[in-house]
Amino acid sequence: MKSIYTILGVLLLLAATACENFLDVNENPNNPQNAPITGLMTNASYETALNVQRIGSITSNYVQYLASPNPASASDVMEPLNYSGTWFNLYNAMTDLTDLISQAEESEAGHYLGAGQVLMALNLGMTVDIFGDVPYSEGFDFSAVTPVYDDDEQLYAEVLSLLDQGLQNLEGTTAISIGDDDFIFQGDVEKWIKFGNVLKARFMLHSPNVNANEVLSAIDNGFEGNDDDAYVEFFEQRFNPWAQVAINNESLLLGGWISTQFIEALDGTSYPTVDPRLPLMIGTTDEGEFIGVPNGAGRGDAPEQGARSTLIPGQYYTSELSPLLIATYAEQKFIEAEAALGSDPDRAYAAYLAGIEAHMDMLEVPASEKEAYLSDPSVSMGAVALTREDIMKEKWVALFLHPETWNDARRFDYGYKDMTLPANLNTDLNNQFIRRLPYPDNEVSRNGQNVPEVTLLDRIWWDE
């Protein structure tokens, strides 16, 4: 009898251990618990470029690069839309960068740390520029379920501090070198340092009490030519998103129609010169003409194809493998021009011309056309006659589709020549241009008590 109990006991024990193993199957077979720092860099650099494009696709109608073929379309007439997706993408990138930064700190990978801080600064800066006060101090590490919103001006201080730290780390030593996992510079630390300085200049310039000297000294350490530009080149596996817009439009899934405002600025209507860049940036009608759509008014009785200018596949911005531009030498030159305008008109003027030239070189404008444009008196007005309007207009052209233009437009009070309010403007705007994006529906529903009550006319701190 006793032996039976012993056998039973042993069997039970066996069963119990077997059971434990049988049930120990919960480790996630789909998602790993740790990510390699290189994988984080790949995704963060790729997503950052996409974030620039995502915001650019929101703001391009506001700054009247693009216009909807349909009348009263929400983006043209500045109606509030739900930007939950954009918000997610920005925070998703910043979350991954938080992990990249902490992994880099642990493994003393100073260059990853620095590059991570630079990308963090860029994503945070872009977020503040469109939404104002946003969560940051209680963000990313799940310290609070409903993170508070930090003051936008203080966040700008954080952006600049991140850039300073990032530059310091990039200039130091690293246990792991960045490689091809970095989609922006493929591990070229010198370019990262220049890029960090350009971003410093960009964000400092937004401030109403900008210290021009600080901007200029950052620029001194910035890009030295178009070769230094920050961008992500696209892939056979995944086309450039603007190329996709153009391809879709060609298949009559309409999008990427050009605003009349943009065409008239370049075709000799608003300004005395015809800009040679126009045919390199956008398509023509079947008759070879450049005809835009007035924002908010729609295409009228024009058919879907052939009668208006749109983005077309295969151009600089719209080839399948085209780069998505994050920051360019041309932009840097216009920052320099604006910063130097008050103190050093000659430097400003030289930078202004260099900015135009850099953009033209990027688009591969033939030398003769470039020279003809640059020598037109309305363009080369001389250092004394150069105004902020001139700089802003050329920067607007050079930053085609880039979201930085909306920051410029708001700082410039939408003061571009002949820029008028769109037709069918959102009546809540009381005949004024939009000044910010609404907080996304997801934040209102998930973090409602912290979301500030705002209207589309409320301004970001640097725009007040």
Partner: protein, 1032 residues
Amino acid sequence: MKRNFTYLLLLLICFMLQGSYLLAQQRTVSGKITSTEDGEPLPGVSIVIEGSSTGTVSDLEGNYSLDVPGPDAVLLYSFIGFATQSRQVGSQQTMNIALSPETGDLDEFIVTAFGISQEKKSLGYAAQSIDSEAITKMKQPNLVNALQGQVAGVQVTNSGGAPGQSARIIIRGINSLDPGADNQPLFVVDGVPVDNSTIESSGTPRGLSNRMADVNPNDIESMSVLKGAAATALYGVRAANGAVIITTKKGKEGQIRVNYNGSVGFEELNRLPKLQDEYGQGFSGEYQPSSFWPSWGAPIAEVQQTVPDHRYQDNWNRAFNTGVQIDNSVSISGGNEVATFYGSFGNLSQEGIIPFSTWDRTTAKLSGSVKASEKFDFSGSINFSNTGGNRVPHDRFMERMMYWSETTDVRDYINEDGTMRTYSNTNPIYDARFATYEDDVNRIIGNINLNYHPTDWLSFSYRLGNDFYSDTRTEITPGPKGIDGEVALSSTGLLEETRINSRDLTSNFFITLKKQFNTDWNTSLRLGNDIFERRFDEVTARGENFVIPEFYNLNNTTQIFAGQDKRLRRLVGFYGDLMVDYRNFLFLNLTGRNDISSTLPKDNNSFFYPSVNLGYVFSENLTLPSWVTFGKVRASWAQVGKDTDPHILGATYASPDIFPLNGQVGFTRNSVFGDPNLRPEQTTSLEFGLQTAFWDNRANFDVTYYKSNARDQIIPVPISDATGYSSYITNAGEIENSGFEFILGGTPVQTQDFSWNISANLSINNNEIKSIREGIDEIVVGSQFGYVGSTVTMKLIEGEAYGNIFGSSYQRLGADPDNLFLDRSLPVIIGANGFPVRTGTQLILGNAVPKWIGGIRNDFNYKGFELSFLVDFRTGVEQYNQYHNFLSAFGKNEFTEAREDFRVFEGVLADGSPNTQEVWLGQGEGPDGVNYGAGYWRNHYRTTSENFVEDASFIKLRNITLGYNLNPGILEKTPFRTARVSVAANNIILYTPWDGFDPESFSAGAGGNAVGFTGLGFPGVQSVFFNLNLGL
């Protein structure tokens, strides 16, 4: 010590109960009770002296003896499933009785946990069943739909009218705060739990099937619904929301029977919103033949004068087909004393009302049982089904209908070269035809049952169940054909191949011990072990950008993306179930179960939960007026635990599908974070019920009160993306459901030729979120798009009910800023521009969980004729009408015909004075010289959610059937044993205050809980069927 005490207590109770009749000893009667069916002895028969509480129960050999007061005493012999007999004692000393089985009264029995057929009388909780006739009469291809309106406390919602589309079943309200939780009951077929999940398409909703749709309703003998935790405690975690126990048809001893069922059905759209037919394509009142805007143009009649073929096309009626459904099934069954068998084939093919929507089901089933010896028997069954069809993107179809010009024929959709014929917008029918999504499911459900009874009081049972399916899905969106001027559905085209393999294994071993302590006390104890495993693997490969147009192979695409999702869940349970029956009128049932789940953190993954229920059949024990046939009170208390989904704990990283790019694989932090200290959920439920029957069962009434509290709910709480996650899975709260269920039935008329049966059920459910974890103010269940700030959100807030829909509204004068609910009785504030002022503050505009649901079924029989109808209703329910939002944005509602009118909006100005300002409702500059922009409906009406959260109550004539059974006299001359013809119609009458398609349709599918949003779901249908049943 504890055990000793229990034993003493039981003993004490025994003595107390027996004491009363130990005193009256006059004379003894004894005898043996057998069954007339097989002559076998019947143990456990109750023998009571009429008019007293004195009595006994027959022993295992059917013998009994009883002391009777004298020759006038009348003995009542009663036993479950047998007709009660009464005999006067007279001078007899031996009274041998043969009891005949009661026929056709299925109500007396109900199949409960583990397929045990239990006398309903003995249950201490509410359960209800429907038989095969009630199932097949409904002519629902989807078994779940057959329960609609028939069972108290059970809410079945069609997610739409697509062929094979899922239906959702909820028992006693939503028990989980988890927006994605499956609140549906466990489905058990012949003792083996089976999969009823719904895997929706990854992109636009396409109305896929819940997996129970794979089962042929013609194979079903009965379905019992076990509602409370008490009924389902033995099934463990998976039955926390109740269980539906399905018994399939079996072969019976006797000659071989062949049955044929055939039916042909036709269906069409049952309801349309009220639409305008005066204004055509264009914007701002101007006609424009290629405009995106379908109906903001000029009056159609006006344009017609210059463009003769410009007319209202009635597209909303013309876009839909008449659906056809053909169902054939044949079964053969039979057996002898040793073995029985049942086999069947079934084929259903269905074409839906949206063009090119199809669904087919082919089933084959074989089951059999063998009694190898007196001590050993075994049975098994195997059920094969092949299901699938072309799932049209109904949401997108309806959205494209929304954009489609009302003055362009939607049916004229294709050019001769195969490209889309359109003025610019995508034609919905062209899209439905060419952007295909086909699923092909092969499923095998099998089980083996072994039973061994070495002695009378001991038996061993083992069940092994297997539920395997493969689901092959192919989605195709064609790219351009390369023909000049074509409007392609996509600029690149897309091919997505999905392969799903899922296997459920269940193993259940139990020992049953029966002990009759004496004539009064009967006990049975069951001890068992239950193991469950689900292995799920889904692989998807997506190719984009076809090299050769219209050649659909992944190798023909330039961009390929792959993804994989693997899941493994295991559960081990141990359980015990003790049933005590005192003199066949007092029934006590105790259960306990311990589950160990692989999905929870190791420290918290083992959990125990008990249940107790008591049934007291007072009509067997008390002297009641003669018109009371039966009376029972019941009470139960039960707990049941619940685990979570596999592989959700902790933080993980994911590699987005887009990688590798340039040989690099990126990683991103997964946006879901599973609490590493997750505990099992625990639901505690309490139930009281009264079941009565009167006038020889001519009328019956049943009422149940229940309350269940689900604590420590495991919920993926949507959280701000700024936290680094979008969703946090944690034990986040408690929800309480309580309510009453009433069942009223009867046979008002019963004569030789004519009978009328009626059965009605009514349930009310109250629901409250008792608590939500600290730090979380609210839980977002879901939200649905509405134009310009009219998006609505279903949110859970402590102290409020489940299902509240939040959204924007008009400002009201004197509104309490602390009131979460919109008070529609207060006057609307009108702005300086003469239009109502909107507020974006999210207020509760309605609740999507019906307060009352119920149904009434009537069956009339006259000679061979049968007429039955089922009416069901729901009330106290609101939904967000997305159709209404879209229709108003595009100027399609009937009320937008007022677009050339002036109106003074009812309401007050901010100072409280009545509004008198007249405004124009149209677009552009009005006759008053004011520019009204995009007009009232686009600028104001569509922006405000309160306009679209509407009463979604309904009363439906769910089914009406007229049948005729051929006279046996006529049949004698034919080879047929039985023959029946019938006509059935479903949903032919629908009464609802709702303006739109059938309010029952919703876009989320059966898997989700966001039922308050109609989306642009597949519209509901009405149908008529012609049926023929033949028996050989």
